[in-house]
């Protein structure tokens, strides 16, 4: 009797070598896909969505690319997931983490082919990862005490991050923007407070940081266009028809005159509400919800600037910058905290009118206005700037800094090589392989820049043989250079996260010896 089929009809099972091969192939394919975007001379990708309109995105952000892929291979899904997590956790290094994991698997594939058990490879990788992390820890620079130096560190990190993006032409300008914005947060990682407004038109260089706050709204008709020493009430309340919500009550009348009476009462209620709001002594009222024409008219009569339909984030940010609280009831004006700012005015950026709040009390939030020739450029600029902001805000919390340009990889590779020499047994091969995978990153950076990677990386390795060397790849001049002099830095936290999650993911995929795929859920035909 032949072995019965134990799975459902469309389910499939792959075992042993085949399973391993399937996961290696999947992981390496993903790696090769994003590999070319790595480094300052990495190339971009065009992503076209299958949805309506076939929207196009041009990017070289690893996480964005991977997120939009529809992948069926389970190992590839693991890699996509680590990239996403890297994005959420530290914001940058999303490509590096996938490339490193992929390289680790590529090396592991070779080892498996020479009959080394995956478990041995894993334990070797673990030792190597630990050793590499310690090597980094020894070499970190921490300028927490020295504020001036720290600022320059931040600046360098921002420039390094931005140099691989579309903003690299104006990286000094944008690095300054990002550093200024992050420093205003005063250590909080709440990037929500930094608002990025994209307005097509002009060039990237015209982008600027505004210490005030810009709200993408129009000022109501007949209301003042400019207010000095504004007192702002930020509210979240219904200003359309203020219904009676209690007991599910509803209006039911039997004659026209009564309708008119009730309408009158409603109007009266609204008038009272507006009166109460005015009684706060304000001259600017910002509401999250709609404001109907009637109350708007009342506000205009009182000379109050009323802004309707500011979205939720806008409200929160506005409350944050002006120091007011978000109010929903208006019965005791004396205890509601009002927001203040020096000047509210309508400004024009490009063709659009925006409301600009300047001279705000709490300088925590700020707005970055991005200008650029097209939506695609702006989207990519926003992603790049977001990466830089994330890295900076994380660096403010964890102030340890490393050099960049392939320097950390070479330092780690050197230490790991040392370890391999000291370790007896088959693990040693795995540790060596780990070091090879690390070296692959500078190699790819050089390759992407069109340089002779074999020559450069060997030069780099020789340079690193000396203690306390700062050598890395200088992509611009195409030679080995001193990273400290060139001012190329990276955040320790990013590098550590790259190292650890890449190893973790590689380990996870290596441990697999069987893939069971369930039958895909049947779509019901909607005919």
């Amino acid at each position: 009797m032949a072995i019965e089929k134990i799975f459902k009809d469309d389910a499939s099972e792959e075992k042993g070598e085949r399973a391993r091969m399937a996961s290696f192939v999947g992981a390496i394919a993903i790696t090769d896909l994003v590999k070319t975007t790595l480094g300052p001379k990495g190339m971009d990708k065009i992503l076209q969505s299958t949805g309506r309109g076939h929207g196009v995105t041009v990017t070289n952000d690893g996480a964005t690319i991977l997120k939009s892929l529809h992948i069926d291979n389970p190992a590839a899904k693991v890699l996509i997931d680590i990239s996403k997590v890297q994005d959420d956790e530290v914001g940058d290094g999303t490509t590096s983490v996938v490339v490193l994991a992929g390289e680790l698997l590529r090396e592991a594939e070779k080892l498996v082919a020479t009959k080394i058990h995956p478990m041995t490879i894993i334990s070797g990788y673990r030792m190597a990862a630990e050793c590499a992390r310690n090597a980094l820890l020894q070499r970190v620079v921490d300028n927490k005490e020295n504020a001036e130096k720290f600022m320059s560190d931040l600046m360098k990190i921002a420039m390094t991050t931005l140099s691989s993006k579309i903003l690299s032409q104006d990286k000094v300008h944008f690095a300054q923007l990002a550093v200024d914005a992050v420093m205003r947060l005063k250590g909080s990682t709440n990037l929500e407070a930094i608002q990025i407004i994209k307005k097509p038109g002009g060039s990237l260089r015209d982008s600027f940081l505004d210490e005030g706050f810009i709200l993408d709204k129009k000022i109501g008709l007949g209301q003042p266009k400019r207010i000095e020493n504004a007192k702002i009430l930020v509210a979240n309340t219904a200003m359309d028809t203020d219904k009676v919500k209690i007991y599910g009550a509803r209006v039911r009348v039997d004659s026209m005159s009564k309708v008119a009476e009730i309408e009158g009462a409603e109007k009266e209620k609204m008038r009272e509400k507006v009166q109460k709001i005015i009684a706060h002594g304000i001259n600017c009222f910002v509401n999250r919800q709609l404001i109907y024409n009637f109350p708007e008219e009342l506000f205009a009569d009182a000379g109050i600037l009323a802004i309707e339909h500011a979205d939720f984030d806008g409200i929160e940010r506005l409350a944050l910058v002006t120091g007011g609280e978000i109010a929903s009831t208006f019965d005791n004006p004396e205890s509601v905290k009002l927001g203040h700012c020096k000047l509210i005015e309508e400004i024009m950026i490009g063709e659009d009118k925006l409301i600009h709040f300047s001279g705000v009390e709490m300088g925590q939030a700020c707005t970055i206005v991005l200008r650029g020739s097209s939506h695609h450029v702006l989207d990519e600029a926003e992603r790049s700037l977001h990466d830089a902001l994330c890295v900076l805000s994380q660096t403010v919390n964890d102030t340890r800094v490393l050099l960049g340009g392939g320097w950390p990889e070479m330092v780690m590779a050197k230490e790991v090589d040392e370890l391999a020499r000291k370790t007896p047994g088959k693990k040693s091969h795995a540790i060596e392989a780990f070091s090879r995978a690390l070296v692959a990153i500078p190699t790819i950076i050089a390759d992407n820049a069109g340089l002779d990677s074999a020559d450069l990386v060997t030069q780099l390795r020789a340079a690193h043989h000396k203690e306390g060397c700062n050598a890395g790849i200088d992509v611009i001049s195409g030679s080995v250079g001193d990273m400290a002099e060139l001012g190329i830095s990276e955040s320790f936290k990013v590098k550590q996260a790259v190292l650890l999650s890449a190893t973790e993911a590689a380990e996870m995929i290596l441990r697999v010896d069987e893939i069971i795929t369930c039958a895909p859920r049947k779509r019901e035909d909607r005919m």
């Binding site: 997931d81 009831t329 893939i515």
Partner: protein, 535 residues
């Protein structure tokens, strides 16, 4: 065509035999069943032990799970065969009862089936085999009791517990920091354990995970975490000595459930209702304030106006908290869940030393920590890890470790792991078999052979020569009369599991043998498989 006759002698058909309907009978059915059972066991065999491999499972929706937990693999495998489903049930019941050893039990059952097949070929009746297995399992379980050891631990001396949990964790992907996780699990179990009644309510331990960070950042929180944030962005993010009102009624205007109609037909009614509404909100907040609450946790949503009133009166609040979490909070803080504002009294408030909001990473991810609770019996294990699959797998591993710790508190007998107990049982069963006259003797001997297959699988997965290693260890056990010799999976250099500190729980092992025997008996007794036609 199965025909029968009723009392009047009229024939009727019991079972329609159609072309599509498959039916297997007699020895054919048994063989088919055994081969299906074996196929399932073979899938899990490579996952056994500290060097066992993982499986990737892709669900019908394309989600990926990576695990080596037997119960999880089988659950997600989407099997169609009836016998395979029995094996899935087997592993699940081990999971419910013991929580650990879900892979071992299936491998064991597979081995028993394999041995049974050989006996069937010799013409031994399946029932006799089943009875022989039953006898043998009894011998094995008794022998286990015999070689088990009691060991003492207290709330201070947790080392033995940690060691046992480490044995469990060492076969999982998390074995990189098994020490750390084992300690967390043991501490968690001990803090909720009722040592006098020897009982542990695992519901009191909440296992939460969030991607990001690294595995070493996993921590034990003496309190509760809730995946929510304060309802108003400007409420305080940290409250000390919080008095918590736990509500299941919404801060919203009431909507009576009975059928009603409030019609507004005059201006006066409109006015009164309006005033009532305002007062209602005010009363709600005032009520909470009056009893002295400094934090409101609510199962439902808030109206905008109520939200602002709360903020205004300096009363932080959390909304949309799930029912289970609400109960846990109530247990932890010693508060009562209050369904109406009218019933709010100071005694019903829960207490916590510290409530704080924490944000993670670069996204707007926030969690609320409720710590230093009045009743510190509820704890949370908060897992961090590189990716989603890792977190899920860690959750499963922690669950296993928690179950092991719980079993030890219930019954502090342990046996040694690494296949040593199976070898020892196999020797004992083998020796006992000769005493039985009759055909059962063969079945008992087969049982002993089946027991050997677990250490064999362990050795195989660890890259050792299975037959050589097993025979060496077996002869060593008999020669020195020491049941502590097992397979040296981690290449430490000694076979003595006592020196390697590899423990397993006695009840876990006993359950494995009993459950595996039961299922195999059930499978052996089947001689007719009727499956419906596909339509």
């Amino acid at each position: 065509m199965a025909l029968a006759f009723d009392e009047y002698g009229r024939p009727f058909i019991i079972l329609k035999e159609q072309d599509q309907k498959t039916r297997l009978r007699g020895i054919e059915a048994q063989k088919a069943n055994i081969s299906a059972g074996k196929a399932v066991a073979r899938i899990l065999r490579t996952s056994l032990g500290p060097k066992g491999m993982d499986k990737i499972l892709q669900s019908p929706d394309g989600d990926v799970t990576i695990t080596n937990d037997g119960a999880t693999i089988l659950e997600q495998m989407d099997v169609d065969n009836q016998i395979a489903k029995l094996m899935v049930e087997l592993s699940r019941s081990q999971d419910y009862e013991i929580g650990d050893g879900t892979t071992g039990v299936v491998v064991m059952a597979g081995a028993l089936l394999e041995q049974a097949e050989r006996l069937l070929e010799r013409g031994i009746h399946p029932i006799r085999i089943a009875e022989g297995y039953e006898l043998a399992s009894r011998i094995a379980v008794e022998h286990l009791e015999h070689i088990s050891q009691k060991f003492d631990f207290g709330t201070e001396d947790i080392e033995p517990l940690v060691q046992t949990c480490m044995t469990t964790l060492s076969s999982k992907i998390v074995n990189r920091c098994k020490r750390h996780l084992a300690e967390i699990s043991v501490k968690a179990v001990l803090s909720v354990a009722d040592l006098e009644r020897k009982d542990v309510n695992l519901d009191m331990i909440k296992v939460e995970g969030k991607v990001g960070g690294k595995l070493e950042d996993t921590e034990l929180i003496y309190g509760i975490t809730v995946d929510k944030d304060m309802s108003h962005p400007q409420m305080p993010k940290q409250i000390e000595d919080a008095k918590i009102a736990i509500l299941t009624c919404p801060f919203e205007p009431p909507k009576p459930k009975t059928k009603h109609k409030v019609d507004i037909d005059t201006v006066e009614k409109f006015q009164t209702l309006r005033l009532q509404e305002q007062k209602y909100f005010d009363d709600m907040v005032q009520k909470c304030k009056d009893v002295g609450a400094t934090l409101v946790i609510c199962q439902w949503g808030f109206d905008d106006e109520a939200n602002h009133l709360l903020m205004h009166r300096n009363l932080p609040a959390v909304r949309w908290v799930g029912g289970v979490e609400l109960e846990l909070i109530a247990i932890a803080t010693g508060g009562r869940i209050v369904p109406r504002f009218q019933e709010l009294t100071p005694e019903k408030l829960g207490r916590a030393g510290l409530v704080r909001e924490r944000s993670f990473g670069t996204t707007k991810d926030k969690m609320l920590y409720i710590e230093h609770c009045a009743n510190s019996r509820a704890v949370t294990i908060f897992i961090r890890g590189g990716n989603k699959m890792m977190i899920e797998e860690t959750k499963r591993s922690i669950h296993d470790a928690l179950c092991v710790a719980r079993n030890l508190i219930r019954n502090n007998s342990i046996v040694y792991g690494g296949g040593s107990t199976e070898i020892s049982c196999s020797i004992a069963v083998e020796a006992a078999s000769d005493k039985y006259p009759g055909v059962e003797q063969y079945a008992i001997r087969a049982f002993a052979d089946a027991l050997d297959s677990i250490p064999m699988a362990l050795a195989e997965n660890s890259g050792l020569q299975p037959i050589e290693t097993l025979s060496a260890v077996k002869s060593q056990q008999i020669k020195e009369n020491n049941p502590h010799y097992g397979i040296d999976c981690n290449d430490v250099g000694t076979n003595d599991m006592r020196q390697q500190d590899v423990f397993e729980t006695l009840i876990g092992k006993q359950q494995q043998i009993l459950l595996a025997t039961q299922v195999v008996k059930m499978i052996l007794k089947i001689d007719d498989v009727i499956s419906p036609s596909h339509y």
